[in-house]
């Protein structure tokens, strides 16, 4: 089983920040997230996702109504971790696809091949208003566009062949420009010429995850490498991707036995893994690390904690070939 961890403020419980064990300032410095990810990594958790939205969190005085940019936070954590995958949520509705793909490629470079992203849309009026360029659109429309963004991101990651940088002193050429490709991408809402500004990322394609939070998102998840499925009895069977089920957990109160049973049940149902949403990062992640993972390992459900290598390798995804190699384009 794949095991993932969600990072969101002080935890999934809106009151988690009030605990005496929490220094709320550490939400804003990134220290709280860093500590949780490092604990999870040491225990063998495979990846961490970072929640984000384009617009600010809801303005509710007793909740964490602030949020760091997930990409910046994941990058801040990258050099201080070695094995865990890092997947910030990045929204694509009001942002520039060219920047988005360059950022994800860069996260893959700075993390040595542990980068990915949770591709998400912004369908709300609040998100549209902070950018002010497009009217809000329904989920069907924003997810349709998101599929084009995922597609062009992979093309742009391929727009540099792996061996494009030749550093050939004899001819004075730094790159072989035959190995750089114009993607010439056209979609109903944007066009991109290419190539990318960033050389091909270490994993070829950083891991693209989609949270199947709506029927439209589930449809788009057909393009993902990794699907985050909300806790649900209805498991889709048609997906050509890894499927992990997101569950909110509070093992510091509930213990881990019930959770082990849930995960065994998911494994029996053919699910690829579980995406844990701890109620409190400070209270629950240590229990996940010290008690849950060892029990899953005892039952042969998870691999050794120390596995290195790329995130794709860790998840059993191959390194993708390059769609432009030998294409003549």
């Amino acid at each position: 089983m794949i095991v993932g961890l969600e990072i969101d403020g002080a935890g999934a419980d809106p009151a988690a920040w009030r605990g005496a064990e929490v220094d709320p300032r550490a939400i804003l410095t990134g220290e709280l997230a860093l500590r949780a990810v490092q604990r999870a990594e040491a225990a063998g958790v495979d990846f961490a996702t970072f929640v984000d939205t384009l617009e600010a969190p809801d303005d509710v005085p007793d909740r964490v109504s602030v949020r760091l940019d997930a990409l910046g936070l994941a990058a801040r954590i990258a050099p201080l971790t070695e094995r865990i995958g890092l997947l910030p949520t990045i929204t694509v509705t009001h942002t520039e696809p060219f920047h988005v793909q360059a950022s994800v490629a860069t996260l893959d470079h700075v993390s040595g091949g542990r980068g990915g992203w949770v591709a998400d849309v912004s369908s709300s009026a609040a998100a549209a208003a902070v950018i002010g360029r497009r009217e809000p659109a329904p989920a069907a429309e924003t997810w349709r566009e998101a599929r084009y963004v995922v597609d062009v991101s992979r093309r742009l990651w391929d727009s540099w062949e792996d061996d494009a940088i030749i550093r050939d002193a004899s001819t004075g050429r730094y790159v072989d420009r035959e190995k750089l490709h114009y993607v010439e991408f056209e979609s109903p809402t944007f066009d991109i010429k290419g190539p990318s500004i960033v050389p091909r990322p270490p994993q070829g394609h950083p891991v693209t995850a989609i949270r199947a939070s709506s029927p439209e998102a589930l449809e788009a998840a057909a393009d993902a490498d990794l699907v985050l499925l909300p806790d649900s009895d209805e498991l889709p069977t048609q997906l050509n991707a890894l499927v992990v089920v997101s569950v909110e957990v509070r093992p510091h109160l509930d213990g881990v036995e019930g959770l082990v049973a849930v995960i065994e049940g998911l494994a029996a149902a053919g699910v690829d893994g579980v995406h844990l949403r701890p109620a409190s990062l400070e209270l629950d992640v240590p229990v996940i690390a010290d008690e849950l993972l060892p029990r899953l390992r005892d039952r042969g459900l998870v691999g050794a904690a120390e596995r290195g290598g790329s995130l794709r390798g860790r998840l059993g995804l191959g390194r993708p070939g390059n769609s432009y190699v030998g294409s003549g384009r």
Binding site: R18, A56, G72, R76, P79, V110
Partner: protein, 438 residues
């Protein structure tokens, strides 16, 4: 007391200053290279580390330019990662205001400032060309004349978002269950380029406002810097040109109610250090030859002439034709507004010295700013600063990632001995290092 010098490290970029073919040259993309240079700069108690930006690969005559470094990672992501492995060094990102939206910029830069403990800076650049626009949703939509209007409006809104929380709105009272006051971060703005409203989801970062850097050189650009910037990244590294620029820009500050020390002028410079002055002169000449191969000389001449010069021999004489203004032979880099006087100067120098085209480029374009023994360089750097040709410098090394090792190990101690450069960081934020108020 003597003026204190400010120093920054520029990661080697995609022009021919960077000698990628040297056996010592390392990766331009691996994080280890960025980390090495940043750690070197921090060891040298530099003010900040600087990353340039690229949004489209350069082209010459319709093909991707392949003679210089091509490609780079995205700046803010690299700097967020460097925040983890440095503790005091400022982290400056060049980010285009034309192809980014103020809300996103404010959020990403504020995040960098929060996670770095107050070390973020934004070098505000603009572009307008359709060539770059081909990679973006909106294309090359902006008029050249409008780019500073958008940049200025963009910066004004970014600051408004950074200022959108008052200090007392972040409550963090766990017992009472009050995280923040309702309404904190609310904003609305309507201008020529933006019409936005909502709530900004980050309270004031350690610096309040990240440092603003500006690099434009036109009259409009200088005015923008005088009204809005904390630092100017200038191209005027030589003594006389530096003094003229310094005087010009500092004189513009008073009309914005600003003092002269509220804007630091830091020209980009190159440095060659060796045991003796003679050795440094030889080393500098060798580096220039590495920087300007025959094909590179032609490409640089094409940028100046605005013509296809592929029929010329770089080891032969300069082209006889007149330059063309506004050509598209070279795409993706800044050309010459008025190439005629430059061409005339090149011709005069070539004739006087009997130089070939390549030798002319080597001598006219790539001469390093400071060349000499550690003592010579330290004295020259200090002289420029004390005589108001600069407040400090952005050092552009020719080698990735070890190009500043010599400067930090051999020149910085001499500046410290002279009492004109810090022994250790006195504060924790970039504003502290630069001596800037919010």
């Amino acid at each position: 007391m003597s003026k204190q010098i400010h120093l920054a490290a520029h990661f080697p970029g995609v022009n021919n200053t960077t000698v990628w073919a040297d056996p010592q040259a390392g990766s331009q993309i691996e994080f280890g290279s960025f980390r090495h240079l940043a750690e070197t700069a921090e060891r040298g108690t530099f003010d900040f580390f600087f990353l340039a930006e690229g949004l489209r690969l350069r082209e010459v005559k319709g093909k991707i330019h392949d003679l210089d470094v091509v490609g780079r990672p995205e700046s803010l992501t690299v700097l967020s990662a460097l925040a983890a492995v440095t503790s005091h060094l400022g982290l400056a990102a060049t980010v285009n205001s034309t192809f980014n939206e103020p809300y996103e910029l404010a959020k990403r830069l504020s995040t960098l400032d929060h996670v770095s403990g107050g070390r973020a800076a934004w070098n505000v650049v603009t572009s307008w060309d359709a060539f770059t626009g081909e990679n973006f949703r909106r294309g090359g939509y902006l008029d050249k004349a409008d780019r500073y209007v958008r940049a200025q409006e963009s910066l004004r809104i970014v600051r408004k978002l950074w200022d959108s929380w008052t200090e007392d709105q972040l409550v963090l009272d766990q017992a009472a269950g009050a995280f923040a006051r309702e309404g904190a971060g609310a904003f609305a703005d309507e201008g020529a380029h933006f019409d936005i409203r909502g709530r900004f989801g980050l309270p004031p970062s350690p610096q309040g406002r990240p440092v603003i850097i500006q690099a434009g050189d036109s009259d409009q650009g200088r005015e923008f810097a005088a009204s809005d910037a904390d630092v100017i990244f200038s191209r005027h590294g030589t003594f006389e040109a530096g003094k003229t620029f310094y005087k010009d820009v500092k004189a513009r500050l008073s009309k914005y109610g600003r003092t002269e020390d509220s804007l630091k002028i830091m020209p980009a410079v190159t440095v060659v250090v060796a045991d003796t002055d003679d050795e440094a002169i030889d080393k500098a000449a060798y580096i220039r030859e590495q920087q300007v191969s025959g094909p590179t000389a032609l490409v640089l001449a094409e940028l100046l002439w605005g013509r296809d010069l592929s029929a010329y021999d770089p080891d032969g004489p300069l082209p006889a034709e007149d330059p063309v203004v506004g050509s598209s032979v070279t795409q993706g880099r800044v050309g010459y507004n008025d190439p005629f006087p430059v061409v005339a100067e090149w011709r005069a120098q070539a004739e006087a010295h009997g130089w070939s085209l390549r030798q002319t480029v080597i001598n006219q374009q790539n001469r390093q700013t400071f060349i000499g023994s550690p003592t010579t360089v330290a004295e020259a750097v200090n002289h420029h600063v004390q005589e108001d040709a600069a407040d400090g410098f952005v050092l552009v090394p020719h080698l990735t990632p070890t190009g500043l090792d010599d400067f930090v190990d051999r020149v910085v101690p001499l500046l410290r001995e002279r009492g004109v450069f810090r022994d250790e960081y006195g504060g924790t934020t970039l504003r502290d290092h630069l001596g800037l108020q919010v």
